[in-house]
Symmetry: C2
Subunit: 452 residues, 2 copies
């Protein structure tokens, strides 16, 4: 798995989410329940991640307010806005914003992402999502959520348009000849001229080509359509995998799909999510986990589970298992792969509804690595060296303390094992370069004038 002389290095992304990924984290004495709307909280988190030489940080998002505000912090600063503020508070770390292809216009979104890439000096990334759920649809003039396949068809066309826009300026369009009074070279502008099924966009983008050409393209769909999309467009993939075997299968599948799509399989990085729960002994780590579980309000979880499984309210009983008859994944128009992950977890481990909620409360289906720093570093190494991951999406149960603990105690072990960078390389390295990916070449550069 090593390439030539450079040892293969793992990539770490910090998935930031208000007071932490555990749904009860906001109830701990250390947590600030207003953290999710406080820039200082995110600045602090970004600086911890940068101290840990993480590749990037990431904000999830969806354009709807989930009902039931009682249960946990709701609402959030819009990710592109927040990440722009973080760009000025950090120097190296990549900034990955979630934005929906179903509920944005390509022109506006491409512009904002290019602006963030320029402002941050080449550190922008885009987590491309198609956004499940009728709640979001109804905030944008639709009565119901568009079908899953249609959302992905629109996403593909969205990416085609966005790339045309990002390539609408050649890298050297600006001439800046003051004496001649010529600022830019109009012949190096390539209007999008796109006429498609979902979009028609005529012009060029109103911002020059950005340091990375375009933001790092990240994706997290795990359905068939989602994986096909990732193979075609994504440069990094977030995924929820619960066992080493599942993760290996997913990894191999995605790399081979990417090859079949005509791309270099090395140019898609697979990052499973993990929720590290640390203690200086295994018992201490387990106690930290138990403390969080004790703060879960289980009644809240039941309603959420019923809605995920498309069951009528009142179907599930806390101390019983899931009903044996459940709809097949093909009948789900929302988050298909999440549905299957949850059902399989419950079946495989024969969990009651209460136990299932406790397991999901910690990371919504992502794998929890509970133990000492050595144990967690060991699990990371195993997954990384056994063909399950190119890196990890680190989802601390409690923030900032969980990220701080990971940086203080796990990162040094990963460095000592030669798995992870000890410092950032060239400070002008872009996010894409940090992930070991090439800058996209401009597709139709004007040839340099012949010397006469």
């Amino acid at each position: 798995m090593t390439r030539g002389k450079t040892p293969r290095r793992l990539h770490l992304n910090a998935f930031l989410m208000n007071t932490g990924h555990h749904e009860a984290s906001w109830r701990l004495p250390e947590s600030d329940p207003y953290a999710h709307v406080d820039l200082r909280h995110y600045v602090r988190l970004a600086r911890i991640a940068e101290r840990g030489t993480f590749d990037s940080l990431f904000l999830a998002d969806g354009p709807q307010l989930w009902s039931n505000l009682a249960q946990r912090p709701a609402g959030a600063l819009e990710p592109l806005t927040l990440l722009t503020a973080l760009a000025t508070a950090t120097e190296h770390i990549g900034l990955i914003a979630t934005a929906s292809t179903s509920y944005n216009s390509p022109y506006n979104l491409a512009r904002k992402l290019a602006s963030l890439d320029i402002i941050s000096g080449g550190r922008a990334g885009w987590n491309i999502v198609t956004t499940a759920g009728a709640e979001a649809a109804r905030n944008f003039g639709l009565a119901e959520e568009p079908a899953h396949a249609e959302r992905y068809a629109r996403a593909a066309e969205f990416l085609d348009v966005a790339r045309k826009l990002w390539d609408s300026w050649e890298d050297d369009t600006i001439v800046a000849d003051k004496a001649a009074g010529v600022w830019g070279d109009d012949s190096r502008i390539h209007p999008a001229r796109h006429q498609g099924t979902y979009f028609s966009v005529a012009g060029a983008l109103n911002v020059p080509r950005s340091p990375q050409g375009y933001p790092l393209l990240v994706q997290a769909g795990s359905s068939e359509d989602g994986k096909a999309f990732a193979a075609r467009y994504a440069e990094a993939v977030f995924t929820a995998q619960r066992t080493l075997a599942d993760a290996q299968a997913f990894y191999a599948d995605l790399k081979s799909r990417t090859g079949r799509a005509g791309r270099d399989p090395g140019h898609i990085k697979v990052l499973p999510g993990i929720v590290p729960v640390l203690g200086s002994t295994q018992a201490e780590a387990r106690a930290a986990e138990q403390l969080l579980e004790d703060h879960i309000v289980y009644e809240h979880g039941v309603g959420r589970l019923e809605s995920l499984l498309t069951l009528p309210a009142g179907t599930l009983k806390l101390d019983e298992r899931l009903p044996s008859e459940l709809p097949p994944e093909s009948a789900i128009e929302g988050a298909k792969s999440r549905y299957t992950l949850v059902v399989e977890l419950a079946r495989r481990e024969r969990l009651t509804v209460r136990q299932l909620i406790a397991r999901l409360g910690g990371g919504r289906g992502h794998l929890t690595f509970t133990g000492t720093p050595e144990q967690v570093a060991g699990q990371i190494e195993t997954w990384f060296t056994q063909g399950a991951a190119d890196g990890f999406n680190i989802m601390p149960a409690v923030l900032p303390s969980g990220l701080d603990a990971f940086v203080e105690h796990v990162v040094p072990l990963l460095r000592a094992r030669g798995l992870f960078r000890t410092e950032y390389d060239d400070p002008r390295q872009t996010l894409r370069e940090r992930y070991g990916l090439p800058r996209p070449a401009h597709p139709y550069p004007t040839p340099a004038p012949a010397l006469v």
Copy 2:
């Protein structure tokens, strides 16, 4: 014109535009032709304006790339993105972003503006524009620009939806009761439930109510529809006025319209744009202006003027006047009031096309105050005390030097005359408070529970 004991104070807004408002400014030796995509340039400008205790700074915008890159810097960082970065580099100054009601969704834009208001601690403003021109329309799936009246009808509905969204959380929705496990009070959430002609938006915004309730609402339309819109919604108005008499008429008209719309006329602030060109003598100031005019490429200006006047290419001759037959304003679907302003200027001052271009090159129709600091301060005082302005939109011909000169030489005179603040008041004052406007009350707050 004084209210009680507080002397009436003027308001200053810095209109930032790459290397300056003069179209030839980028050609001066001091100018950086890449400034428009350099965050440091804008940070520097924002800090100069803050040193001058300006109320706010402002970025114009349109979602299209104007062709003819040869003539001047084109493309720009998206304003909301750039202003978020500036929020972290400044402490007091208001941040006014232009965004279009014709080419955005209310849900996304309301969310971003609320996020900026939270991140900046209550310093966000929105310059509401309807966006003229087919170029923009064609970037958003339309073949032609929507009719002027239709754009304003959509703008009004957009504002209604946006305010419903900004009011969808009461101010005290967050309960944060850790012991009881209750984070928020669902009964204080008011979904938009909007079904209209242009928009249907069901849910609540996914961000809490911001410090100002919602951003300061600014507008700059000068047509009949534009003024009617301003009277109904705007709290500050940017306008291009060329004579004291015109400005007085506009001021009186807008205040009385605002009263007729059922609002307090004191709650709309009128800010004409001025291009200050300074010199330590009048001759020096005139020489600075001449230097800029000498850098204009007049051939570029002809095409722009023909397109504004909807004339076929080749109609205008540089050393002749405008043709006597021109279409009436009612036939113009683009920027109606700008059309009229330009035609009237040319007719009133009997300008040749070349002279007209020179006059427009400096501030695109805004008034140029050329002279010594004393003269410029005097003109400002006259307009302010003679019922023509509540403050000014300062549009330096060259940036940063023109803003710096204004802050160094004119602001102290305005302060000495008691017309302008000498320092920022309470550091936690919001932008709206700085403009002397009340915070919008929540329209349907839940009554406090009765004490039992």
